[in-house]
């Protein structure tokens, strides 16, 4: 083909269409390959993360099962599905943990709550948030001890109407300049405790995870 005929061919609409279509096809193929190649590794990392967070809110001494093993699929009062991880020891549920979302100052705060079977808090951790650096990020365990203050608390200590930040007449310290952030976390934990109180029979039903061999 002479150069002019090549140009004419490349200027035709069918060439443009083929070019775009071809590139879209190659792009899709590359993404599919990339997804297949990384899917398992990404899944594994996600599990590792979850396991590491869970081990912070449920002590190892409280369970002999894998916490990620057959979690309970439940739903909260509004019907939102939630996944509850259960710590089982000697066929008894010793502790529960689940993720909840608080409405922070700058978006959602993802919080992991761990409760003992008697309804007291074993631990609370913030998984991620977009609060103001320097003010609201004191909810992270790596930056401040504040989040550890929930440990051992329950709906009896303090009573339900005292579950709030000091500014709202509650029992928990807020941060100056980031009251909304602290309030979101405190109220999420409170709601978690209330949820547990209302659903504890269903939540503590012994699951058939591993049936140990009876001797």
């Amino acid at each position: 083909m002479s150069p002019s005929r090549t140009t004419a061919f490349r200027d035709r609409i069918s060439y443009q269409a083929l070019l775009l279509g071809g590139f879209s096809f190659i792009a899709t193929a590359l993404l599919v390959i990339g997804n297949i190649a990384t899917h398992d590794a990404i899944q594994e990392r996600r599990m590792e993360n979850l396991r590491a967070s869970l081990s912070q809110v449920i002590p190892d001494s409280l369970h002999d099962n894998d916490l990620l093993d057959s979690p309970l699929q439940y739903h909260d009062a509004t019907g939102r599905p939630m996944t509850i991880y259960r710590a089982v020891q000697e066929l008894q549920i010793r502790a529960l943990a689940w993720e909840t979302i608080g409405k922070g100052y700058a978006g959602d705060i993802r919080i992991l709550i761990g409760l003992a079977a008697d309804g007291s808090v074993l631990g609370v951790r913030v998984l991620n948030h977009t609060e103001t650096p320097g003010l609201g990020d004191k909810i992270e365990a790596t930056r401040s001890d504040w989040i550890l203050g929930f440990t051992g608390r329950s709906l009896r200590d303090p009573p339900l109407n005292k579950w709030g930040v000091r500014k709202d007449g509650g029992d928990f310290d807020g941060f100056s300049g980031a009251t909304i952030t602290a309030r979101a976390v405190v109220e999420s934990v409170r709601d978690g405790l209330v949820f547990f109180r209302e659903n504890c029979t269903a939540l503590l039903e012994v699951p058939v995870i591993h049936t140990p061999v009876m001797e």
Binding site: N35, T38, A41
Partner: protein
């Protein structure tokens, strides 16, 4: 040709620096530069995309027609960014935890499309590769400069959490410059990014002016002034 590469290098790193001269890519720039470490990570990830897109586009420039070049460039860049994102998520997970939010932002970095359009689509593979590396490094330099300034002024540290990004050997980079520093929140927040960027841009102008003044004989300066008056 050697001179040509020298010119590309100089342009990428300084004269035509993406941030300091072209003022492109400000969205990721301002979003991540709260610390020098984040800036470095974002810069390196962007450099990878700069290089890969320069290679792909200069290699394919023969078959891409001007009429559909933009969608094709966008497609190539989007695929590359997604691949970088997935790769980092799978095998550089700690870094991904720090930067994960910002990786998709690389797509919105108009500088990458800009280089594809202005350079890679008009040049051979090798010069495009050099241009991609140098533009990427220039961008990294700007990110680290901005991040370091904001980090020192805002929290009194430098390269905090560098271990997360580079591994344990990078511990020596983590400096706590000002003990008992209360922090200067404004600098860490987005407005601080704009303020610091303005000072850095002005600083670059001053350096350039000083260089030209030193490079030229003193008598030229009044002549230039005269021309401006006329």
């Amino acid at each position: 040709m050697d001179q040509n590469y020298g010119q590309i290098t100089k342009d990428g790193l300084w004269n035509n620096n993406i941030v300091f001269a072209q003022a492109l890519g400000l969205c990721p720039l301002l979003a991540v530069t709260g610390t020098a470490t984040n800036g470095l990570g974002m810069g390196l990830a962007s450099t990878a995309v700069f290089v890969a897109s320069a290679l792909a586009i200069s290699a394919l420039r023969g078959i891409i027609t001007p009429q559909v070049r933009l969608p094709v460039f966008v497609l190539i860049i989007a695929v590359l960014v997604t691949l970088v994102d997935m790769t980092m998520n799978a095998w550089m997970h700690d870094l991904h935890k720090v930067l994960g939010l910002f990786i998709p932002l690389i797509v919105t970095n108009c500088a990458i499309l800009g280089r594809a359009e202005a350079f890679a689509s008009r040049n051979k593979v090798l010069p495009s590769l050099v241009d991609g590396i140098m533009m990427g490094l220039g961008f990294t330099f700007a990110l680290v400069a901005l991040g370091a300034t904001r980090e020192i002024l805002g929290s009194g540290t430098l390269f905090a959490d560098a271990k997360l990004l580079l591994g344990n050997w990078a511990g020596f980079l983590e400096l706590h410059l000002i003990p008992d520093y209360k922090g200067f929140l404004l600098i860490i927040l987005p407005p601080g990014g704009f303020i610091v960027l303005a000072f850095l841009l002005a600083g670059k102008r001053l350096i350039d002016q000083a260089l030209t003044r030193r490079g030229k004989p003193l008598t030229v300066v009044p002549a230039a002034n005269q021309r401006k008056v006329i």
